[in-house]
């Protein structure tokens, strides 16, 4: 019987150059793998692979040299140990994320929590081409938001609290965008310069800022054969429902307008990014 390599690829079995060998991609979210899952992966790599794994460029795990004849038993063994297989091909890929606010002092949002929600909502969805989500917790951008088709970057909106401020001037220097000025004991923030990094708040000795966490979204990034930074098309998003509406609209737009083997940024170029901007702006505003 002929082997359906396409179906295997869709299920994470990546055909190797060595005949009847596959590098098996596993399902991960935000690069988080439990110790129990690791033990399962270790056992499968020892018994069915060649005793090693490969960490992928997008926070995934692959187990190389899985034999064609072992595919079903490997899937079963992994499932018993709480490990799912991943995906490849024209569909929503692994959602990447940094540790964000759960662990990192710089994190403005819980990037892992959001990645889990995006994964639950979209992972494996069939499209005309691959589609990548990435979530980074702050402007340090460890997770490189703009290289994804849909990149999310955590940030904060800040508002000065006059009563709590001692006019020490630390925030003026902490700001890397020169957005803050201190004149006669009063702080002003140039919103055109502010990039929502929150360094003013973190450095403030008296917590004289009201902070609202939220998301900056970039669209249409890729770092493969072509290099393209995702573009920010919307204002700062301060609630998760709005973010998910925008994500839904983005995926639907790609599903409706994308051509086979056409990455999202190419679709945007062909159809017109202005047309897309109208669509996501409506989603942002909660309009139908």
């Amino acid at each position: 019987m002929a082997v359906d390599y396409s179906a295997l690829k869709a299920g994470g079995f990546m055909r190797q150059k060595q005949k009847d060998n596959f590098s098996l991609r596993l399902r991960t979210v935000g690069g988080t793998v439990t110790a129990e899952q690791l033990r399962t992966v270790q056992a499968v790599a020892d018994e069915f692979g060649e005793g090693y794994i490969h960490l992928t460029s997008r926070q995934g795990i692959e187990i190389p040299f899985i034999k064609l004849a072992d595919i079903e038993v490997v899937k079963k063994r992994l499932a018993e140990g709480g490990v799912e297989t991943g995906v490849c091909g024209p569909r929503v890929r692994t959602v990447t994320a940094c540790q964000g606010g759960r662990c990192c002092p710089s994190g403005c949002i819980d990037a892992l929590d959001l990645a889990e929600k995006l994964d639950a909502r979209y992972f494996g969805r069939e499209l005309n081409h691959k589609f990548k989500f990435g979530v980074t917790g702050c402007q340090n951008n460890c997770l490189k938001a703009e290289e994804n088709d849909f990149g999310v970057k955590g940030g904060v909106q800040v508002a000065w609290k006059e009563d709590a401020c001692i006019a020490c001037g630390v925030c003026v220097k902490a700001c890397r965008r020169e957005a803050i000025t201190l004149t006669d004991g009063r702080i002003t923030v140039d919103e055109q310069k502010c990039n929502n990094c929150g360094r003013c708040n973190r450095s403030c000795p008296t917590d004289a800022w009201d902070v609202t966490p939220g998301y900056l979204v970039s669209f249409g990034g890729t770092f493969g054969n072509s290099l393209k930074f995702g573009e920010e098309l919307l204002p700062f998003i301060t609630d998760e429902d709005t973010l998910l509406r925008v994500a839904d609209a983005t995926i639907d737009f790609f599903a409706e307008n994308g051509l086979p083997s056409e990455r999202f940024f190419k679709t945007l170029e062909r159809v017109g990014i202005d047309k897309f901007k109208v669509v996501v702006t409506k989603a942002y505003n909660g309009e139908d």
Binding site: G169, V170, A174, P205
Partner: protein, 81 residues
């Protein structure tokens, strides 16, 4: 405004990150609770980051004085033993 008396001073303009913060931290460790340390630092990365690190150690920042010559004096009250 200057309702504090400086107990000690430390100059961190002769070192670079992360020794800037380490030097300030060591100077604070030698003081008693409530003492005031003046930390002399350069513009740029030190003044962007050292105040935040000192805050995160739990000390109280009172003032950042611009000396007008590319250096700053950060006035810190020690909190804790």
């Amino acid at each position: 405004m200057a309702d504090y008396q400086i107990t000690d001073r430390v100059d961190i303009t002769d070192v670079v990150c992360p020794v800037t913060f380490v030097k300030a931290k060591v100077a604070l460790e030698e003081l008693d609770e409530g003492d005031i340390l003046s930390v002399h630092m350069n513009d740029g990365e030190p003044v962007q980051n050292v105040p935040r690190s000192i805050k995160e150690e739990g000390h109280q920042i009172l003032k950042l004085e611009d000396n007008g010559d590319g250096t700053y004096d950060l006035i810190v009250r020690k909190v804790g033993e």
